[in-house]
Amino acid sequence: MKSKAFFLSLILLGTAACSSIVLQPADYSWPIENVLKVDDLGFVSETRYTFRINVKNLFNEEFKDSTSFKGKELRIIRDAKGYYYATGNEFKNVYVLMTQENGMKVENIIPVSQAGLKSPVMNQKNNSIELIDNGLKTYFTNKGIEGK
């Protein structure tokens, strides 16, 4: 009986030590989007939140052209949950990205325009991201367009 109780307490202690620690809630949102120029090597650099990332694959995915990034701008904003939203002129989609070790992974692709965006801007709203293009407003989260 005594030995059973001993093993049970050992198991309980072990479980407690292994459980992951979660810090919550968090707010990762950026107050405004960032408009970043893609350099010749396909990188964009953000100085305030300090990251540098190669976005060639994103342009390749969007335009099916490996050199389409040259001279382009990428608009990026981050929501409270920590998702990044990236889009730009002539994009048909907004890309939802999440950080991972040494990079970012596309978590979702939100189609927003059949013809391609003309002059998109993104704003931080309470629980979503606002996309304005040609006076048209669209609201979305990492899961997709709201109300759809």
Partner: protein
């Protein structure tokens, strides 16, 4: 009827569409718009060249603040590390500071104007005094009254030159302050302010006059060691300040060939002034020897001076036996005691060393030669002392021996007196 309703509805749709389009603005664009206007105002404050311009900018800042007040919440987040209020405060402070610069410039211009009048008067007075002094020096009349009058004129001239130098130095110093407080490259407004000050103060002319009057003053008067030491000090301070502002003034007057030449001319005048002071110091030292009928080879620097003295001593040593011994001794004592130790060493050597005209080593070389010279000219001088020391030592030894002898006798007598009593 239907058409009228349709028309009104269309107008309403268009109106609300327009409102939506206005509101449909990127937060990013709003922030960028704020930042651009902010930077433009900041630049305008820097570039303002009059107090009125800054006053107008203060009003623009107030309008700018109102324009973006509705976006305060957004800007508070996006202007990191500033916020809306602190950014506006910075602008207002910059405008206030710039206003202060202009108020100071107006004050300085008034001050320079007053100085200019005083300077013109002093320049005129000095010119007239120099003429009077020269007239008196060339006059055949050398009675006491003339000499007294000359001395009075020299004293007034000296005081006037000093006063005028202080005024000019004040202008140069205030320019220097402006240069040191300004960034390394001056903007147009700063250049204009300095340009105005230079021209209002007639700076170039006054600096030239200061130096040339000092040179003239040295020519017409005989100066003491203290006078020359003061003048050297003044030269050093003044030329140091000029070396700091000269190149910057050259930048401002880059496109004015005549002014650029004038600046180069002033540099040359400073060199002449220094040369003249050094010359005067060496001449005064030579004069001290000449007054005692000692003729040295001409010297204008420390090397020549040391060389001249050692050559003189060598010649004197060579001439021993040719000249009468008393004559050689007299030359030695006059040279060393009357001139070197009494006048040159206390009055001139400190000035020479302080101004790097003579080194400690050179001074030591000269004084070592004096000891060697003395050994040749008057070898008994030191031997005589040794005799006195030997006599004094012998006297002390004798006194000690006598004291010991007396005390021993006393002891023996006491023992002899006690011994018979013990036998009893």
């Amino acid at each position: 009827m239907f058409f009228t309703i349709f028309k009104k509805s269309l107008i309403l749709v268009l109106f609300f569409g327009f409102i939506t389009a206005i509101n449909a603005q990127s937060d990013y664009e709003k922030t960028q718009n704020f930042k651009n206007k902010y930077a433009s105002l900041e630049q305008k404050i820097k570039d303002a060249i009059t107090l009125e311009e800054v006053d107008a900018l203060v009003e623009s800042i107030a309008a700018f603040k109102n324009e973006f007040a509705d976006h305060k919440a957004l800007l508070d987040k996006t202007l990191y590390p500033d916020n809306f209020s602190s950014a506006i405060e910075k602008l207002e402070k910059a405008a206030e500071l710039r206003k202060g610069d202009f108020t100071q410039i107006v004050d300085l211009q008034t001050e320079v104007g007053t100085l200019k009048t005083a300077l013109t008067e002093l320049n005129d007075q000095n010119a007239s005094l120099l003429v009077q002094i020269k007239d008196l020096q060339f006059s055949q009349k050398k009675d006491q009254a003339t000499i007294n009058s000359l001395n009075r004129l020299v004293a007034s001239l000296k005081a006037n030159i000093k006063e005028r130098d202080e005024l000019v130095k004040g202008i140069v110093d205030s320019l220097l302050q402006e240069f040191t407080s300004a960034p390394s490259s001056l903007n147009d407004a700063e250049k204009t302010a300095i340009f105005k000050k230079v021209e209002t103060g007639n700076l170039f002319y006054n600096v030239e006059r200061t130096i040339s009057d000092n040179i003239q003053f040295m020519k017409v008067t005989s100066l003491t060691a203290d006078d020359l030491s003061d003048m050297k000090e003044q030269y050093k301070e003044f030329s140091k300040t000029w070396r700091q502002i000269g190149p910057k003034l050259s930048q401002i007057y880059l496109n004015q060939a005549n002014r650029a030449r004038q600046i180069a001319g002033i540099d040359e005048l400073f060199r002449q002034w220094n040369f003249r002071i050094n010359n005067e110091i060496w001449s005064s030292i030579n004069q001290a020897f000449r007054e005692k009928n000692i003729t040295l080879m001409n010297f204008k620097n420390g090397d020549d001076f040391t060389e001249s003295i050692t050559t003189f001593i060598d010649d004197e040593v060579k001439n021993l036996g040719v000249k009468r011994s008393s004559e050689s001794k007299e030359t030695f004592y006059t040279f060393t005691d009357s001139v070197w130790f009494q006048q040159v060493k206390p009055n001139w050597v400190p000035i020479l060393i302080e101004n790097n005209l003579l080194t400690e080593a050179q001074k030591d070389t000269i004084e070592t030669r004096f000891a060697q010279w003395k050994e040749k000219v008057d070898p008994g001088g030191f031997a005589g002392y040794w005799i006195y020391i030997a006599i004094a030592a012998a006297a002390i030894v004798l006194v000690l021996i006598a004291f010991m002898f007396i005390s021993r006798n006393k002891k023996n007598r006491t023992v002899a007196e006690i011994a018979p009593k013990e036998n009893d």
